[in-house]
């Protein structure tokens, strides 16, 4: 009786500790580059009210602390902070606010890094690898606190906000600004 209860408790503990492992999963095989694809930059679509499907890789990168810290390294290596500072913006726009000109979801940020944008943002396609650009996007996304708490980075020197795992619990910020139902644009 006591034995089975202990077994149950132990297996529950083991399952709980294993659940924490995924946030730092580090893939050792680089995924093949899929090449350019079209990524929507706005929530406005003709005809259908449903947005196009999100890139399947988005969640893998956004929810992984390893990818976010890699992105943090590249953010400095590739001189992103030269224009965007530590996310507060300078010559380039800030990265910690919510609504962006070319979209603020991770796949839109990836497209911005890859293709570049008018008035200064260079495109990194062919320079940085696909994986690095996804990692950068995941980090940039985390600057404003838009990533799941479990995957927040541990190295906090560059963050504008207190570390997520030390911050007080709060309402999760919405993924992006959405128009309430029944209101016409």
């Amino acid at each position: 009786m006591g034995g089975s209860a202990r077994t149950l408790l132990l297996s529950a503990l083991a399952a709980a500790s294993l659940g924490g492992c995924e946030r730092e999963t580090r893939p050792l095989v680089t995924p093949p580059e899929t090449g350019p694809q079209s990524i929507a930059l706005t929530d406005l679509y003709p005809g259908s009210p449903a947005p196009p499907p999100k890139d399947p890789r988005a969640d893998d990168y956004a929810g992984n602390a390893y990818h976010i810290t890699q992105g943090q390294t590249y953010y400095r290596w590739y001189n992103c902070n030269g224009c965007h500072a530590n996310g507060g913006g300078g010559m380039g726009p800030p990265l910690i606010d919510r609504e962006w000109r070319y979209g603020s979801s991770i796949d839109q940020i990836y497209a911005t890094i890859r293709d570049g944008r008018p008035n200064g943002m260079p495109g990194f396609e062919g320079k940085a690898t696909d994986q690095q650009m996804w990692q950068l996007a995941a980090y940039v996304r985390s600057l404003g606190g838009f990533t799941p708490q479990a995957s927040s980075a541990r190295r906090e020197a560059m963050r504008s906000t207190p570390p997520r795992n030390q911050a007080k619990p709060q309402e999760p910020r919405p993924e992006s600004f959405t128009i309430p139902q029944g209101v016409s644009r």
Partner: protein, 331 residues
Amino acid sequence: MKRAALLMALALGACSGMQTPLAPAADQAEQIRSIWDVMLWVTSFFYLLVIGFLAWAVWRRRRKETAPPRTQVHDQGLERTLAIWAGMIVAGLTLLISWSFLVDRSLASTQDDQALHITVTGAQWWWRVEYTDGTPDKQFETANEIHLPVGETARIKLMTSDVIHSFWVPNLSGKMDMIPGRENVIDITPRKIGVYRGQCAEFCGFQHAHMALTVVVESREDFNRWRNHQLTPAAPPASPKHALGKAVFKAKACSLCHEITGADAGGRTAPNLTHLASRRTIAAGTLPMNRGSLAGWISDPQAIKPGAKMPNVPMSAAESDALVTYLESLK
């Protein structure tokens, strides 16, 4: 007999080689070797003494069981022996402590008029080596390979760009940690010409085991020749294939991190490749420097050194071939 000879050879094998503190090639390593010697003699002495007493106790004649038990409280002989024994232990330990203290002191008291200034910066998982002597036109940067003129003291400043590493070239000197935000200094005065291997001695992450460096101790003339060559920019491409390789290097992700002086590639976060082919190894001592290693490393660094900061850069076979040809020409 044969086995004994083999054991002897094994034991002696540790006394030579490119990575051992038992074959010192510099003043500093010589001093550390002296600690080893003192320690060996003191501990051997005590070991033999203890084993000797043990053997004596085992072999001495057993007392007759019929003899009446001795109830003597004061055993003058035993008390004197124990007092001498304790005194010997204290003396042995004092000798070890004071010897190690004196050596440490002498290693720490670096002089200020060093001839050669080198900055070594540890990074995951390679070594940035900067020769900072003289005017800026006499300064240059290389990676994973240090050259030192024999008989001259070099002052090596140790820093890190990420986590704690430890600089250790056993034949030349003891370990010294590289601490984030600190500058540590060691002096090395090499006395023997040769090639030595060093290694990171503080666990620093995934590829800690593949973070080695080569130290070449050579004559002043050879050193000057090497330094003058390192100061020159990379040779211009010799053929269209080399030119294609250079173009690939500049167009792909390589130039975002790597620098080649004279080739318009100015990345500062990865090893400087200006004279890559003149080094003995690539990827911080992971592979010997040759065409096959280069091609394998470029096509899949994550297979050779999983977790390394160099990504797999997709390129065609022709591009990769040209790139390897170009890199191989960077003597």
